[in-house]
Amino acid sequence: MPAVVRPARPHPVFLGVVLILLGMLVGGCARPPVSDPAKAELLRQIREAYLFDVDVVSLELLSVPEIMARLDPDTHLVEIRRRMSSDFIRGFEPEGSIAAVRALGGGRGYLRLVFFGRRTLEDLRKALSDFTPPLCALTIDLRDNAGGNFDQALRLAELFLPPGAPLALYEGREGRALLYATGTAAPRQERLTLWLNARTASSAELFAGVLRWHHRAELVGAPTTGKRTVQQVVRLDQAHLLFLTTGRFLAPDGSPFGVHGLMPDRAYEGDDVSSLMAPCADTKSLGP
């Protein structure tokens, strides 16, 4: 008698594996919960504040580094530096954004503006008040100044401009806003020379661009970097800050401050600051 052949039934384990795989497939199509708080915060910031249009849904399955790689090159993730020396009080660390302040004779002065920090405006005011007699001409060295605090750059430019002067157009997600000088003090009157090079960037370009736009300063040196975006800083997790691009700055009339960076009024490759500007009595004023 031949054996009865019954149709094979799937093994329960095999069925279980198939069901699990099916579940993963279905689950993969749905939005998975974001379990990483840093990633959740990053996606939230992109959704709410990022300047450029991006499909946030397409980013949700990616890791934080993968997401960052898809954003603009000016958006950074920065590791937090924590100085734990006991010799300072947090918040009181010397900033050092103004350096090499010196008189050049003939009523001229020089200083190096290393970066735009939190106290740069106050430090600059102090540096200028230390010159006796007061200056009639000032060279501000912005070479290698990679930028920094955007609002400080505007406030510094205001020092040399009348109240109410338009400074820059800020373009964010909500649209464009014209920024004005809001200070009430009379503007400083020194003849200004701004020294630039290829590493002058960002807030330094904004500062120089605003003053040149108002014909308030002469730019000398080499063309600048051409970075015009502005970032907002957010604490992403215990170890990282997110600098997210949320805007860009333009000249008050909407044109860029230089198409590919600022072009100096006068090329100069040397290193002799005293040759950059003539003593005061011999030179025409570059007032507004």
């Binding site: 950074h76 920065v78 590791e79 937090i80 530096r81 924590r82 734990m84 006991s86 009080i89 947090r90 918040g91 009181f92 954004s97 970066f115 735009f116 920090g117 939190r118 106290r119 405006l121 106050e122 990679a146 930028g147 920094g148 605090n149 955007f150 609002d151 750059a153 590493r199 960037a201 960002s202 807030s203 904004l206 970097t225 970075k227 015009r228 975006t229 502005v230 970032q231 907002q232 800083v233 604490r235 215990q238 800050l241 600098f243 949320t246 805007g247 700055f249």
Partner: protein, 400 residues
Amino acid sequence: MLRHVLTLGIFLALVSTPLGSARLSAQPKTLADYDLKALAIVVNRDSSDITVIDPATDTIIKRIPLGEYTNAHMAMLNHDGKKLIISATGRDRFLVVDLVTGQVEHTIVTGKAPEHFDATPDGRRAFVGNMEDSTVSVIDVHEGRELQRITGFFEPHGFSVLPDGSKVYVSSLGAHEVAVLDTTSGRMLKRLAIGDVGRVAARDPQRYLSSIKGIVNPTLTKDGAFAYAADSDAGVVAIIDTRTDKIVKTLKIGEQPWRAYNSPDGRWMLVPNNGDSTVSVIDTTSQKIVAQLTAGTEMTGINFAMGGSKAYVISRGDSTVYVFDMKTFGLVTRLKIGTNLALETAATTADGTKIYLASSTNDSVYAIDARTDQVKQIADVGRYPWGVSILAAASPNYCH
């Protein structure tokens, strides 16, 4: 013969009495003989000890060693004045010390680098900020143990427990937020976002701007109804209603505000702005800025004296104390304490007539008589005195 004996006896009696009295008066007082709440407690960071000063005589009456490498940051008496509670930053510990005996009763393990703290009014619990791992230790002071270690902060720097002891406000220096904790359960009730770092345009942010300067301290009004939190990056003070834990107002003040200091009568909050060397005066009734005072650099503290009629603004950067009249907001005088001195924090005596100010770089405490604005140095208090506190102080104690 009898006459000689009598004469000798009388002579001996006369001579021995002063000697006896001298012996009695030479018997040293112990701390138990003092009003502990009136004593000035100085924490010396580098000599790892506590110095106790008697304000009645401006003399050092005790030094309490805390153990090698303790590097204590903040010390204050508990509510009944009998115990010192101390953050031992160098050893990642919290200490409870009997003030009279000087014995360390409890050594409690905390997170990394504990600095500032506050305690509930009953003295039972302390909330300690561990700056290096950004945690908060909840300490049972009586039992001498850590009950909880709460995560999720960013350099928890400032602590204020409500007068009813129900909640504690914790400000993060490394973020723009104040957290609200339930003091019984340690549960995080709310996180309040305050201020921001502003806009940055930099090609290389790692070089100069890879940190946030957030909130040093959430300062409570005298009745505890509001907390004033100054955000350094944003240049604002947020006023938090502690009944609802909502921000009811945000005031733009000066550049890089440090923290708010409340006047003893509760009427004013003074905020030094270290970015522009001014002090903003806020009326707590109207919640408006009523004056902007010009002071010094690196202002680390404000003490009120003479019933709150004078405010002493400590400028670490200028080695100077700026004295203001709180009726006219005029500058009364500048007290140049010395040259290149790092003035730290101070405490006001209970009667409001004196201020004791730590000066770290010359190991001294300066006693300022608020009646005359005369200054006296108390030298060699210990190495690198960092702060002074007085339990019954007429002006709120603080640390930096």
